[in-house]
C-alpha cells in the first residue's frame, strides 16, 4: 500500500474533474495538489518535489506535451502520467517521447488510474537488487542470462533473451515498437515491425500458458507492448488483441 505522503500533482483545466480526482485519489491514499494550467504546474514542480504528476494533454495555454518536457527537465525523478483524450497512437507516442512514463485515456476507471500511478511510482523509485526480477511464474537473472518458469529453465535465443530482459526491466511500462527495436536491434532499426512480431510470437509460445491470450506480454494497440506481472493487483487489464 502507498504511504499517505505519496504526493500527486493533478493538472487539468476542468474543475469538476480536478475535484473528482482530488477526492478519489485522497480516498485512495494519495496526497493531492492541483494546477489549472501547464504554467502553474511547472511553477509548482520547481517549488517542491512531487512523486507523481497526472497531466492532461489538452489544455489552454501551454500544451500538455510542453508542460511534460518542462516538468521532466525540472524534476527528473517525478513519475509522469499523461491523460489523453484522443486514444490514438500519435498522442500516446508523443506523450512518451515528451518524457511521460505512462498514459491513461479518458474516460478511465479510478482503479485503472491508481494502478498506473502505482506502477509508475514503483518504476521511478530507486530499486535494489535488480539482478533478478520475478513476475508471476517467471524469474529472470540478467547477468547469468537465465529464465526460469516455475523453477524450470526456459531456453531462449540470445535475441529473445535480450528482448525479454529489456521488457522485464521496464515492467508495467508501455514500450513503443520503435523503442524496442532501437534497444535490441540497434539505432538503425525502427520500422521493422515484422522482426519484433516474430520474436514476440516466439517469446509468447515459450512463456505464456496460452499464447493466444497472453498474460505477460500485452499488446498496446498501434503502439507496442507492455510487460506485466499477472500476480500484481495493479497490473493493467490484458489487451484482447494479443499480437
Amino acid at each position: 500500500m502507498l504511504q499517505p505522503r505519496t504526493s500527486v500533482l493533478i493538472i487539468d483545466d476542468e474543475a469538476p474533474l480536478r475535484k473528482a480526482l482530488r477526492t478519489s485519489l485522497v480516498a485512495s491514499g494519495f496526497s493531492v495538489e492541483e494546477a489549472r494550467t501547464g504554467e502553474e504546474a511547472v511553477d509548482a514542480v520547481r517549488q517542491r518535489r512531487f512523486e507523481l504528476v497526472l497531466l492532461d494533454i489538452n489544455m489552454p495555454g501551454m500544451s500538455g506535451f510542453e508542460a511534460c518536457q518542462q516538468i521532466r527537465a525540472a524534476s527528473p525523478q517525478t513519475g509522469i502520467v499523461m491523460v489523453t483524450v484522443k486514444d490514438f497512437e500519435e498522442d500516446k507516442i508523443r506523450a512518451l517521447e515528451a518524457g511521460a512514463d505512462d498514459y491513461v485515456s479518458k474516460p478511465f476507471r479510478l482503479g485503472e488510474l491508481t494502478a498506473r500511478l502505482r506502477a509508475v511510482l514503483r518504476r521511478t523509485q530507486p530499486q535494489e537488487g535488480t539482478e533478478r526480477v520475478r513476475a508471476g511464474d517467471l524469474e529472470i537473472h540478467f547477468t547469468n542470462r537465465i529464465l526460469w518458469r516455475n523453477g524450470e529453465q526456459i531456453h531462449l535465443s540470445p535475441k529473445e533473451f535480450d528482448l525479454l530482459a529489456y521488457m522485464m526491466k521496464h515492467i508495467g511500462a508501455p514500450l513503443p515498437h520503435a523503442k524496442l527495436l532501437h534497444a535490441i536491434w540497434g539505432p538503425e532499426y525502427g520500422g521493422e515491425l515484422e522482426y519484433l512480431r516474430t520474436y514476440i510470437r516466439g517469446l509468447r509460445k515459450k512463456i505464456e500458458k496460452d499464447p493466444a491470450e497472453p498474460q505477460y506480454i500485452l499488446t498496446e494497440p498501434w503502439l507496442g507492448y507492455r510487460f506485466t506481472n499477472p500476480a500484481d493487483p495493479d497490473t493493467p487489464a490484458a489487451s484482447p488483441a494479443g499480437e
Binding site: 476542468e14 469538476p16 474533474l17 473528482a20 480526482l21 477526492t23 478519489s24 485519489l25 480516498a27 485512495s28 491523460v83 483524450v85 484522443k86 486514444d87 479518458k106 474516460p107 478511465f108 476507471r109 479510478l110 482503479g111 488510474l113 535465443s157 540470445p158 535475441k159 529473445e160 535480450d162 536491434w185 521493422e192 515491425l193 515484422e194 522482426y195 512480431r197 516474430t198 520474436y199 510470437r201 516466439g202 493466444a212 491470450e213 499488446t219 494497440p221 498501434w222 484482447p240 488483441a241 494479443g242 499480437e243
Partner: protein
Amino acid sequence: MEVPRLSRRLWRSAQYALIGSAATGLSTLLCFRAQAGLTLVAPVYLLLVVLQSLTGDFLAAGLVSVLATACLDYFFVPPLFTFRVLQLADAFSLLTFLITALVITHLVSRLRAEVSFSRIQKDRLDRLYQLSQVLLSLEPEASEEQLMEPFRHLFGVRAIAIFDGQTGEMGMTGTSSQMLAERTKEAYIFGRDAYEKTTGVGIRCVERGGKPSGAIGFEGLADPKETIGPLMTLTNAYLERMKAFHTASSASAAAQAELYRSAILDALAHEFKTPLATILTAAGGIREAGPLGPEQMEMAELVESEAERLGNLASRLLRVARLNQEEIHPKLAPHQVWTLVRHLTEEYGRQSPDRRIIASQDGESREDRVDAELFRLALSQLLDNACKYSPEGAPIHVVLKHEPDSFVVEVSNTGKSIPAPEQRLIFDRFYRGTVTKGHTTGSGIGLYVARKIAASHGGTLNLVVAEDHPDRIAFRLKIPSSIPNPNHAPATN
C-alpha cells in the same frame, strides 16, 4: 409569306428598271439630237448599265442592258429606226456591247450580293457574340424569362423548347403558336431536323458522344436554317455550364456537409470524454471513500460500468468518424482471429443480455494477418446492427470459417427484411434504410466504414439474403490471409 416577298422584289425590280429605262431613253434622246456616233453612245449606255447594276438588282440591270442594246441598234446603227443590221461589224459590235453589259451587270450584282451577304453575316455574328456574352454573364439561378430575353431581343425568338432524350424532360420558354414543344420532341424521336422559314421554326437534334441526346427548337427566327446551328450550340453550352455548376455545387455542398458532420461527431466524442472521466472518477471515489452498503456499492458500480460503456461508444464513434474521412492503412499482424471474435461476442453478450449471441468456428483455430483494432471495429458494427435490428431473445449467430487463403466471419440474425432496392444501398455513406429510419438510432456510416475496413485488408463485406428467408439477414466479412515465413526475421546473435 413567300408570295408577297416575291412580289415586293419584282415590284422593286420593276421600279429600278423603270428608272433605268427612263435614263436610257433620255440618254438616247440627247445623243440622237447631238447626232453622236456609235463609238460615243456605246460608252454612255455602258455607264448607265454600270450605274444600274450598282443598285444590286440583276433583273433591272439586265433589262436596262437589253433596252440599251435595242436603242443602240434602233437609233444609231444603220439602217436607222429598224432593228435590222446590215454590216457584220455592226452586228458584232452590238453583240459585244450586249455581252459586256450583261457581264458587267452580273459581276456588279454578284459583288453587291456578296457585300450584302457579308453584312448580314457580320450582323448575325455580332448578335451571336452579344448573345454569348449575355449567356456567359447570366447567373446560374437565372429565371427562364432572363434566359429568353437575349434570344428575343437579338434574334426575335418567341419560344425555345429543349427536350432531354435521356430523362424525357421537356423545358419550354416563351410562347409558341406552332406547337414547338411537340415538334421538338418529334424531331428527337424521328432523328430529323426541321426548318420552316415561313414560321421561323428551326429544330435541331443534339448529340453527345456521337449519340442523340435530345433536341432544341426555336420559334421566330428570321433564317432558321442559317441561324439555328450557332444558337443551338450556344444554348447547349449554357445548359452544360449550368449542369456543371450545379454538379459542382452539390459536390461542394456534400463535402461541406460531410466535413460538418464529421466535425460534430468528433467534437461530441471528445466533449463526452471529460465529463465521463469525471463521473467515473467520482463513482470510484465514492466506493473508495466508503463504507458503502451492498446496494450503494452496486449502484456505484453500475454508474461506473455504464459511464465506461458510454466512453467506449464515444471512442468508437470518434474512430468511425475519422475512418470515414481518412484513407485506411491497416497495420497487419498475425492474430488468432477466433480469440478476437470470441472476446468481442462475449463483450456484446454482457452488454446486451436480452440478445442471444452464439459464436462458433468452423475448423481449427489458426493465425491470420489482420489489423486487430480495425477488425474489432468492423465486427462491432456488424454486431451492433444485429443487436439493433433483431427482436429480443432472437439468436444472433457469429460463425468464423477458415478457408485455405482467407477467413470469413458471418454475422446473421432474423429481423425485418431489407427491401431489394435498398440492399445495394446500405453500404453507401449516410444511407439509412426506410425500415430503420426514424425508429433506430445510427449515423449511417457504420456499414460504410466496415466495408472500407474490409477493402483496406483486400477483403469484402457483403449482405447475404436468402430468397426463401428474406427476414434472415447475414453479413459476410471475408479477409484474405497471408502469414509470412517466420524465417524472414533477422539473424539472432
